[in-house]
Symmetry: C2
Subunit: 241 residues, 2 copies
């Protein structure tokens, strides 16, 4: 594994890393990316973080219980905000009201069904409003380079445009940092495993299905398994197959 | 009064007016600006509109009942979305949990208390997600030129930045029109009164307080009264004083 310093050296610019010791708000899904980002900001950047998880009618809320555990362990204030209107008014296969989750790789056309319209802007806007009312100065987003291929609102152009709008949304300075924006899942994992103490990935949830164990077959599980395989470490999470 | 055509001629560019007959979503507060915009888009631009009103823990929900009436009269689909987390987690004098509403003109420093952090981005993001999931192609915003002085998220720069982010939020084309963005309250009123049939402003709610009648003294009431006075028409709404 490369060191955290080496990974960061290749990717850092001033839109990626919040100042040491600054106060921020993070959208915490309970998946690998946002959990790693929270640990990274608290342990490496010494930031004072709050976290918000959203219950928008996903097929399961397992990941939210993992989000809660990490916040408790890190002493981070955590709120769960319900967005029931997304389930009742919006259409997407990610939602309880939607179609079955498709198997297969993210790149495939059928994964476009899993897009929840404008999800990232909705969650970001709420997190920013909360952050602004509590004196934070930035929103941290866990988007990464592997996301953009199917989700329009994970693209770097979108994040840049969102940052610009957020910077104009208040009289006080407030911005967006997406430290992993140009990193792969492998690089995120390398960072998380080298934090002190390392992130326990057995306590994260990536699978799109809500089984007792992760399915190992959906696009999200496949991407996770490939990342662990690439750095030659066994995923501490159990799988159905 | 100037004609609608004359007013529009002075302000129109392609970020202001949706194409005739297009499908849009509008954030409808039940106040003068958004109610006028809904009537204008349906009657003058022949748009197929849906409307969303937000209950974010305002001190009163009177304006929402007016919003509902206008949608019923126009045959427009209307949803009310509750955002209870704003009242429980955010701080603002506009909210039930906040301080008393200050009297006096909008320009005054004390009206800054009435800002709900990032309110316009939150409401816009949700409305856009709903619009995208129902095949609409634009969000209509009722922001106007008088807004910007105290609300950072009513400024033209903010609306332009928000539009850019929204245009990148989906693979399908989706944009933002703010037809009144460069107009004064007087011009909005002139448009509404000349629509066929004209907007019934007795069925709108502008006052920031939740009394039986409008107070006539808060910044919002004063601005409304001045607009009616300028065009020499009596406000059909009764006032406390």
């Amino acid at each position: 594994m490369r060191s955290i310093e080496d990974i960061l050296a290749a990717f850092t610019d001033d839109t990626l890393l919040p100042p040491i010791g600054s106060k921020g708000i993070l959208i915490l899904s309970g998946g690998m990316d946002s959990v790693t980002l929270l640990h990274f900001l608290v342990k490496e950047r010494k930031c004072t973080m709050s976290a918000i998880s959203f219950d928008y009618g996903q097929k399961h809320a397992k990941e939210i219980s993992f989000a809660k555990k990490h916040c408790e362990a890190l002493g981070v204030k955590h709120h769960v905000i319900a967005l029931p209107f997304i389930g009742s008014l919006f259409e997407s296969a990610l939602l309880e009201t939607g179609a079955a989750i498709p198997d297969g790789h993210y790149q495939e056309e059928n994964m476009k069904q899993t897009v929840v319209p404008n999800r990232n802007m909705i969650m970001s806007a709420i997190a920013v409003g909360y952050g602004q009312s509590t004196g934070a100065s930035f929103l941290a987003l866990g988007v990464h380079a592997g996301d953009h291929a199917i989700y329009p609102d994970c693209r770097a152009e979108f994040v840049d445009a969102l940052r610009h709008a957020i910077e104009l949304s208040d009289w006080n300075p407030f911005t967006v940092f997406a430290p992993f924006q140009r990193m792969t899942k492998v690089e995120i994992l390398e960072i998380g495993l080298q934090l002190s103490p390392p992130v326990d990935y057995g306590e994260t949830w990536t699978c799109y299905k809500g089984g007792e164990k992760a399915c190992g077959t959906c696009g999200s599980c496949q991407e996770r398994l490939e990342a662990f395989a690439k750095i030659g470490i066994r995923d501490p999470q159990g799988y159905d197959k």
